[in-house]
């Protein structure tokens, strides 16, 4: 049974008669193997939604269940992990291994160091190399992956990440994307971002939020078939995708659309060869 949110609403109390409604009537289901991308402009409610899914906020209306149980119940402890923006600012231990082992140790797991090493390997940081290193001397991409390992080490079946690639260079972003791809074998992954381009390939579901409500929900292919609601939410399709949609409209037979420029060029050239 998945991580399931039904009819979620959340109102921030402002001390005035009516609060600020940040999320209104949102439903999401996440299974192991899923990559759910939640997109929206700043203030669209996406970070609030992520906190609701993690059980950090209690919804004003609607419900969240984790494998059929309320979040925070003993049997779901550690099942849902959230990685906040710039998580590497929360390192505190002398070694990366000790930092990543902190979560499983607090959950009373018998072998927190072994959990830490498995998590480091999962994000492609060799535990024998990176485990003994100071978390404060890592590059941007290494630090971000180390922080994600801290969430994985608790044995999360659902991994929720807020802007996981923001502020990273190209190599760092690629490494984080690869780590999340690998993690889908074990977990359901939810990514919140205002720049979803790099997560569209392979996303099982794309949700666009606008002013706290779902403006679009569906697969990437459904999004490409009719991007109007997505664009209405203040989001733009990547130029590479728009090229393929325009070419398709002009009669080029393209089987699938991708955000990868190399793959897109290959299929566009092939389709052009066919149609000539």
């Amino acid at each position: 049974m998945p991580l399931l949110a039904e009819g979620l609403s959340y109102t921030y109390e402002t001390g005035r008669a009516s609060g600020v409604v940040a999320v209104r009537d949102v439903s999401v289901g996440v299974d192991v193997g899923d990559l759910v991308v939640i997109a929206g402009t700043t203030g669209s409610g996406k970070s609030t939604l992520l906190r609701l899914l993690a059980g950090l906020l209690v919804p004003t209306a609607g419900s969240v269940t984790v494998d059929g149980v309320a979040p925070g119940a003993r049997e779901t402890r550690g099942a849902v992990s959230i990685v906040f923006q710039n998580p590497e600012t929360q390192f505190f231990a002398e070694t990366l291994r000790a930092d990543v082992a902190f979560g499983p140790r607090n959950l009373g797991r018998p072998e927190p160091e072994a959990d830490a090493d498995r998590a480091l390997a999962a994000v492609n940081l060799d535990p024998s190399v990176y485990g003994p290193r100071s978390p404060f001397g890592l590059s941007g991409g290494e630090a971000r992956r180390g922080a994600i390992a801290g969430a994985l080490a608790m044995g999360a079946r659902y991994l929720l990440l807020d802007e996981p690639t923001a502020g990273l260079d190209a190599d760092g972003r690629r490494a984080v994307r690869a780590a999340l791809r690998a993690e889908r074998a074990r977990s359901g992954v939810v990514v919140v971002t205002h720049d979803p381009a790099e997560f569209l390939d392979g996303a099982s579901q794309v949700i666009a939020l606008a002013e706290g409500e779902v403006a679009f929900s569906g697969t990437a292919d459904a999004l490409y078939d009719d991007p109007s609601a997505y664009e209405g939410a203040g989001l733009a399709l990547p130029v590479v995708v728009r090229v393929q949609l325009l070419a398709r409209r002009r009669g080029l037979p393209l089987a699938r659309v991708t955000v990868d420029p190399g793959l897109a060029a290959r299929s566009l050239l092939a389709a052009r060869g066919e149609s000539l």
Partner: protein
Amino acid sequence: MRGPSSLQGRTHVVVFENVGFRYPGARTAALEGVSVSVRPAELVALLGPNGSGKSTLVRLSNALLSPTSGRVTVDGMDTADEDAVWDIRERVGFIQQNPENQIVGTIAEEDVAFGPENLGVAPAEIRVRVDEALEAVGLAGFQRREPHMLSEGQKQRLAIAGALAMRPAYLVADEPTAMLDPVGRADVLRALRGLRHQGVGVLHVTHHLEDVLDADRVLVLASGAIAFDGTPGELVGDPERALGLGIELPAEVLLADALRRGGVRVPAGHPSAEEIAEALCLS
């Protein structure tokens, strides 16, 4: 006020001369042999991977750090000269990545007035500067707005207005769009571009080449040294070189390049989706 009069006869330019910097206790230098310059009304982009020394260079430009070798001068004043530090910081404005960390006022105009107030500028003059600065960043009419009621992009533009109200000759912006959504990002980029027309020299640090395609010059740092000093067009026109420098080109530039190599006559530079699709279906 120690205004422009004290600067007469000086060359107007920020110059790094063979600058090196090593953090205390660090085994390797963060910067080595860096020589660059930024002139008034010039938009210079600074790119480079995480850890390449971008932030160190930024801190050297406004005397937050002094070089351990070489020399940094701002309009002729040496940043290592402690007596010149305050004059230098008046000349070089600074914007950080996170707009939340740099707003102090309870309403927008108070925030913008904070800098000139601290410089001892006369109240009537402050009024003029605040209104001009807000207008310059597209926030005319926002004088009485509370900062927490602004979007992130508006907050970042407010921070830029705060720097402008000090009438700097230069503005150093350290990844000013990293935390913004596409709308906020476009607005901040427009505001930064507009500064050129006001004669302000801008050093814009970013990971995204597409943010600075209209810069006068692009500098690329790699492992603490300048690996490229040229125009954005030179990088866009040579994807292999850009890749070698660790610069990620916009995906559409890579697509256009790959299509060109496949025989499609895509216009040079940074074509739009429509132009690329047009070329695909015509040629």
